[in-house]
């Protein structure tokens, strides 16, 4: 068996006449943590649903865990842990009952033992008889992850798992994902958080159904050819308004006391910035583009394409 856990190409999905996913191709190796980024409504969830057999692609083919995604969705479902965007365990069942239900659905042996182990790992042994709906956001997310790990899946598909979860819980969550990665479990995770994107081994950026870039974090940044200037000084908001309409300047974004100005065309950018760079009220510096710079610039371009 090859080392590729997911290998699909040409995946397309239409909802009515609208193309939600267009000719999507993806290859993910065993043990990788693969980040899935893109604006809202860009087809991330639809892609994940196609990978785990919840939706049938209208075109394209490929394999997931060595099974054909078109014909063997049952086998795929058995070895995939899918965590939905919303909390979708049963709020009117207790924590233990929820885990117990999942274990039964997967027909697991030594069910009680495994549920108890999972509860202990979670640290929810004392609260096992509380209703899942009574848990806080962070705990719900941990419980949901525990539930989709219960049947020891080879591949985790996580759809915005950390939305609305506090930073500490998010850090713990990512710690756990990395631990699983060491054990050879592959993760495909969609997110809107840039700090989370940077924790992934590889990234894919999709917008409006199209895959725009993929690669490691540094590959994505280098590939962007984005020139970024940062500037410090007084009354930056004034400067921001003056710079925004100039040719060659694609984005002017404040980051605390610093303003990031970026664009792709070096000469045009240089020409527009020259008078301000001579001004000694401001302190100019060339800087590395951040992931956010790259993604927002990608997003603007893709919007232009789609019109």
């Amino acid at each position: 068996m090859s080392n590729l856990v997911i290998s699909v190409h040409g995946l397309s999905k239409f909802f009515g006449k609208r193309c939600v996913v267009n000719q999507f191709a993806l290859q993910v190796e065993r043990g990788q943590i693969y980040g899935f980024l893109g604006p809202n409504g860009s087809g991330k969830t639809t892609t994940i649903r196609m990978l785990c057999g919840l939706l049938t692609p209208d075109a394209g083919e490929g394999q997931c865990l060595g099974y054909n995604i078109l014909t063997q969705s049952e086998e795929i479902k058995r070895q995939v842990g899918y965590m939905t965007q919303k909390f979708t365990l049963y709020e009117d069942l207790t924590i233990r009952e929820n885990l117990d239900f999942v274990a039964r659905i997967y027909g697991m042996s030594k069910r009680r033992q495994r549920v108890t182990d999972s509860l202990q790992q979670l640290g929810l042994m004392e609260r096992a008889h509380q209703l899942a709906g009574a848990l806080s956001g962070g705990w719900k997310q941990r419980l949901a992850l525990a539930a989709c790990l219960l049947h020891e899946p080879q591949l985790l598909l996580l759809d915005e798992p950390t939305a609305g979860v506090d930073p500490k819980a998010r850090r713990d969550f990512w710690g756990q994902i990395h631990q699983l990665s060491v054990q050879g479990i592959t993760t495909l995770v969609s997110t809107h958080y840039m700090d989370e994107a940077e924790r992934c081994h590889r990234l894919a950026y999709i917008a409006y159904g199209n895959l725009l870039v993929d690669g490691t974090v540094s590959e994505v940044i280098n590939h962007s050819n984005l020139i970024v200037w940062s500037v410090k000084g007084d009354k930056l908001w004034q400067l921001q308004q003056q710079l925004t309409p100039l040719p060659g300047i694609e984005q002017v974004v404040p980051f605390g006391n610093v303003l990031h100005i970026n664009g792709h065309q070096a000469e045009l950018l240089q020409h527009s910035l020259a008078p301000w760079q001579a001004d000694n009220r401001y302190e100019w510096q060339r800087s590395q583009p951040t992931l956010e710079d790259v993604f927002i610039s990608l997003m603007q371009q893709s919007q232009d394409n789609s019109i």
Partner: protein
């Protein structure tokens, strides 16, 4: 390639039972609704109203007047609430609705009667609700020809009414006393099942989709068929609890005769419950949220209750309404239950009413399956 796993199915059944137990309100409704309807309909509805308020204008106080008034009271349908002395009063009482009937005995009634002049009696009825007056009026037709027989003695004997050339014998079979409850309580079984079964399944499955838990469920190896059958299983049980509850109340409180086989009744109830659950599931595949599911359940429930012959006599409806009624499972189930309980019908007499329910169920299930495939994608 339908693979059905008993274990996964059982997982869903247990889950549903736990959820049902937690949802005290719905659980109480499932038992409370049949009880409440039994009390309301069973005790309150009476299609044969008696002791209707009647006023009398007796312009001719005689022995015949007294006999007539006594006879009216004895029939049970009329209760004399007032004796008035002027026609305007009759107008007033009827207009206000305080009297259902007004009887006018004209001046010289007894004299004309004795002379054999066939005097006229006037009975005015508030006939706004035909059902309320028809039985009372029917009684009068039987009562009047012979009411004075006891007073017409001696030389007046020739005035007695003569027996008709033909004698008609009427047997009111299955319900000789015309007790409304015998008709309504068995009919309620189908009404209660239709209401709870359709609504609860439509809601239960729509809720699962609305909360997103269905997506989670379908991402597991659980097959749609296992999910569906697993989800409706507890409600079949609830349906049986309701049937039993109604039978117990029917037997002990309303003394409804139970002539036929209860085993047959329970068997037929299963098919009827399944048909209603199928409707609920099909609704849930169309409804986008629980409110819509609820509205669709009512959309189905209202014609069922109105056109099935539960509320109004089936044969009193025009042909087109009867045709709609014939499609509805409740129509046939009501006939089946009444047939088994009151007439002691067996398997053979039940079959003609059973297959329409089965056909209805099969069509609804096919529709539901087609819709279900679409909604997966």
């Amino acid at each position: 390639m339908i693979k059905f796993s008993i274990w996964r199915w059982w997982a869903i059944v247990t889950k549903e039972f736990i959820q049902m137990r937690r949802d005290r309100m719905s659980f109480a409704m499932m038992v409370g609704v049949p009880l409440m309807q039994l009390v309301l309909f069973g005790f309150a509805i009476n299609s044969d109203p008696k002791r209707l308020p009647t006023i009398v204008l007796a312009a001719d106080p005689s022995v015949f007047s007294r006999t007539l008034i006594q006879a009216l009271t004895n029939s049970g349908y009329f209760q004399i609430v007032k004796v008035v002395h002027h026609e305007t009063e009759i107008e007033h009482w009827l207009a206000l609705g305080q009297a259902q009937f007004a009887l006018t005995i004209p001046i010289d009634f007894s004299r004309q009667l004795v002379r054999g002049e066939r005097p006229a009696l006037l009975l005015e009825a508030d006939a706004t609700d035909p059902a309320a007056t028809s039985n009372a009026l029917g009684t009068l037709n039987v009562l009047i020809p012979t009411v004075f027989d006891r007073d017409l003695v001696g030389p007046l004997q020739h005035l007695r009414s003569k027996p008709a050339a033909v004698e008609l014998r009427v047997h009111r079979r299955y319900n000789p006393d015309g007790i409304s409850q015998y008709n309504i309580v068995p009919g309620l079984m189908g009404v209660v099942l239709t209401m709870t079964m359709v609504m609860i399944t439509a809601l239960a499955i729509t809720r699962e989709r609305e909360r997103g838990t269905m997506e989670n469920l379908l991402a597991t190896p659980a097959r749609p068929l296992e999910v569906m059958i697993g989800k409706i299983m507890p409600y079949i049980l609830i349906g049986y609890v309701q049937v039993t509850l109604i039978l117990i109340v029917a037997h002990f409180f309303f003394k409804v005769p139970m002539l036929g086989s209860l085993g047959l009744l329970y068997g037929i109830a299963l098919i009827f419950i399944a048909a209603n659950l199928a409707i609920g599931i099909t609704f849930s595949t169309i409804a986008k949220n629980q409110l819509q599911a609820m509205q669709m359940a009512f959309f189905f429930f209202l014609p069922s209750i109105l056109l099935s012959g539960f509320m109004f006599p089936f044969r009193g409806m025009p042909a087109w309404a009867q045709q709609i009624g014939e499609v509805l499972p409740l129509t046939h189930f009501s006939r089946l239950v009444r047939g088994i309980l009151l007439k002691g019908n067996g398997w053979e007499e039940s079959l003609p009413e059973l297959w329409p329910i089965v056909i209805f169920m099969v069509i609804v299930i096919i529709l539901g399956m087609l819709r279900y495939r679409e909604t997966l994608d």
